[in-house]
Symmetry: C2
Subunit: 574 residues, 2 copies
Amino acid sequence: MKKRYLKSLGMSGLILLGGVLLPALVFPQAEPLYVTDQMLRDADKDLGNWLLYGRDYASSRFSPLAQINPTNVKNLVLKWVFQFGVLDVQQGQPMVNNGVLYVTSSFGRLFALDGRTGKLLWRYDHPLPEDIVTWAPTGATNRGVAFYHDKVYLATLDAHVVALDARTGKVVWETVVDEYKKAINMNLAPLPVNGKIIVGMAWGDFASRGFLVALDAETGKEVWRTSTIPAPGEPGGETWQDPEQKAWRYGGGATWLTGSYDPELNLLYWGVGNPAPAHDGLVRPGDNLYSDSTLALDPDTGKIQFYFQYTPHDVWDYDSNGPTLLTDVQGRKAWLHGDKNGFFYAIDRTNGKCLYAVPVVRITWAKGLDTNCRPIVNPEKLLSRDRVTTDIAPSRAGGVPWYPMAYSPRTGYVYVPTTEISIDLQARSEAPKPGYPYPGAQVIRTSRPGNGALKALDAQTGQVIWVANQRSPIWSGVLATGSDLVFAGTPEGEFRAYHARTGELLWRFQTGSGIHGGPATFLVDGKQSIAVPSGGGGPSRINAARGGTPWLKDAAPGGALFVFGLHEEESVAH
Amino acid sequence: MKKRYLKSLGMSGLILLGGVLLPALVFPQAEPLYVTDQMLRDADKDLGNWLLYGRDYASSRFSPLAQINPTNVKNLVLKWVFQFGVLDVQQGQPMVNNGVLYVTSSFGRLFALDGRTGKLLWRYDHPLPEDIVTWAPTGATNRGVAFYHDKVYLATLDAHVVALDARTGKVVWETVVDEYKKAINMNLAPLPVNGKIIVGMAWGDFASRGFLVALDAETGKEVWRTSTIPAPGEPGGETWQDPEQKAWRYGGGATWLTGSYDPELNLLYWGVGNPAPAHDGLVRPGDNLYSDSTLALDPDTGKIQFYFQYTPHDVWDYDSNGPTLLTDVQGRKAWLHGDKNGFFYAIDRTNGKCLYAVPVVRITWAKGLDTNCRPIVNPEKLLSRDRVTTDIAPSRAGGVPWYPMAYSPRTGYVYVPTTEISIDLQARSEAPKPGYPYPGAQVIRTSRPGNGALKALDAQTGQVIWVANQRSPIWSGVLATGSDLVFAGTPEGEFRAYHARTGELLWRFQTGSGIHGGPATFLVDGKQSIAVPSGGGGPSRINAARGGTPWLKDAAPGGALFVFGLHEEESVAH
């Protein structure tokens, strides 16, 4: 810590000096909360903090911390709990800087907490308009913040980005990115890259056209904006082949999960959602770029450099917003991506070429993949407006849902949460109306109720090494540690630790509501802690209502942060 | 356990047989949930269960369990959490029968949980009318259930009593006790006595006339109903001396906390609330019986046998609903009672005579007590409609609030939560309107912000043995154990263990929201567990708003049950 402090002092001493003068009353440590570009680039090696949504720019969700290990994990106990004061599904990623936890709850409440005690240092409740439009089961979610220099950045449900003083929670600037009345929600953790704060939007399903935006981190001024759905005449525009050339205007392609960044290549990788309408493909013949793709972009200009599309002309709602995890595969710089379409991919991140793709769940919609991993669609699983197409697998819940996987460089395995549900669908002709749902479906029902698994795949080949079967799908983020532990939660509320090499269940704790957020590990007073939000309901209930997980029909919402550490026999501090 | 089962089988084998045939799937143990009168009378000696609101008929809140002790309490860790799915102040008392926890949340939701895992066995959500009237900060509270034979009893916000099958949660009967439109709420744990379920009502402050009701435990039929405010001509009616003889009709005297019972004397002891209007005493000259009293009643007929009035002609809102704790004092059968008026009393429970009374907080409203412990009122602290009376101590929050104290027969000490706040008041003339607030006050504001303490008093003399000072008032129930531990919570969310002989703080845990419920201890698989609800806001915020505890102004509501046990190094059960 001390070392980093001196280093960053050299880079911007004046601002740091302000930090040093802070009264010790406000923060548990007198050390500053200033975050430099170098700190973000070195976040993978940072033992104490959790500085980026995916822990590092590669989104690896691997921490080298090893104090908690397979032998002593049975001594993991709850140190404190913070209740958010709202009840919903909680999908936040707790993030940590110098002993201060920044955690967001549903509706975008932001809490700064003393990591040692859970004491509230400050809170920010973003005021929301009463006529906000979102999708009830999960819409009010918020997934976390970004740190950059002396500020914390929050993207809001009404499509604002708010920059707050990391020490006080005071609003420094607030930028309106888009009109909330068009059902443009923002609920992702922003990504800080080279002085810019990059955010995407949710609800491509509300007859909107997806985009990514970069704001100046100091001022909030927009630097660039890139549409994920090209207009006619733009590269990719030819993949929207409706004769009237208007489908692209409502073409979806949302960008609601934080991307990854490769500082060496200076490339940003960002997942794009399904085309709209999700199920009525008749109105949008063609591949519908860049829906269901990962984009590689220049973070300085927003220019799309190349892409890989997982599901051309998707009619099954296989949005590809799930993480792109950067690592080397077969000696090449690659990204790994588990897709809702059921395949797991390794893609060359210098050019977008497929290195391999393997099915990781039961798949009926495709018969296989061609040599560049383009799917060979099963014509029996295409949709019609006239009849129901049955037993489409995976379901809209996704074979690999968006919940972030983790990769351990120690084992070489990637830990992927999977879901096995199949579905019946029938398309419907619908007129797009911005701000209103635009699914293009008249039947959405489950064919086979679903279970799930946590699967460990060899990152080099995609080969499955072990499978930890689950009654319910795993709809939580995954964390891997330097002691060969893997943590993930269940919709039933259990937070669990598995052995990273065998999948053996080593420890579990019932939090009382479903776990759908991301676990974080970090140091408090030199001791390893693990934080995870608890709050279920949303995804469990919607899938239960459709018959996908009937035993979760009463899954209750929640709202609390649970922080664990190794049990110590010590007296209470007075 | 086995022994009790055989014993109760002899008493009512047929019903028990039904219990035995239950599939093992539904309950963690195949043993029945049948509760006999003898079990209730012996609840003080029952190691495994928590069968009555105050643990035993004496309301002692003492458990002989001693596995968790002052040496190993540092190894107390959280075993599981159950989130209620509502956010409010949570004042419930978890109750336990044969490994099943029955806990109520705000709005009277009732959850039956497997004590080992927190798994929900069944739940009951009482449907409430949309036009229910209550007092927002704490009104929606529910304090627990009653067990009798094969049923669990819940009193509801809309003044119903519901009897449910303890095994399935199925409603067996439901009785409407009064009209909810008159703002008659019920939020107490009913008391089961000799085949009757006894309940009281809340909101004597809404221009109502208090009462107690006994229902037949099997059928729900009303057995008796006793008014706490006598009509003209009835005994005590002469203490309502307004010339028009109408004040008694709106005279208050609510009965919103569970009473105690002496099986040998066959007497029921029940606290009565303040007279109404709370502050405008001019409309009700006289002592205003039986407001601010403890009644001793025949549980078979409801007939009042005798009483003790703590604050005759109360104008300061010193309701006396707090527990009457039955024990022997100076060789006599007595009850102990800490009153909102700031005094702590020992009363002969065979005749209502005062044995001793001592001040336990700063008191300005009285100059002292006469020989039968009747207060000598300080005329400077009487109220006027024309001017503000300042620095009245204790405040309306109470010197000894209602939150239940505990008594340890090992130490001979009673553990009393106290509050030090003083207040300014000015009366106002108001017309009573049933169902509407009737405080009779135009100024209610804090003079001195308040702190609190947990105080250990020698039950024989009232002498203070030790004081554990607190930043905030203790507004939680207290638990004493057979290993000389005392547990209580704080409005800041900490659950704490103190040494019963010294008051030393031995252990604490941050639950993330204020603690205002009652801790329970019980056995699960032979191991001592401790359960406490967490959920704050209400009382903290209302006192903060009035200036009493300004640092609690942002106290957030919550809703979760926390269950603790000793840490064990053991593998996870698969």
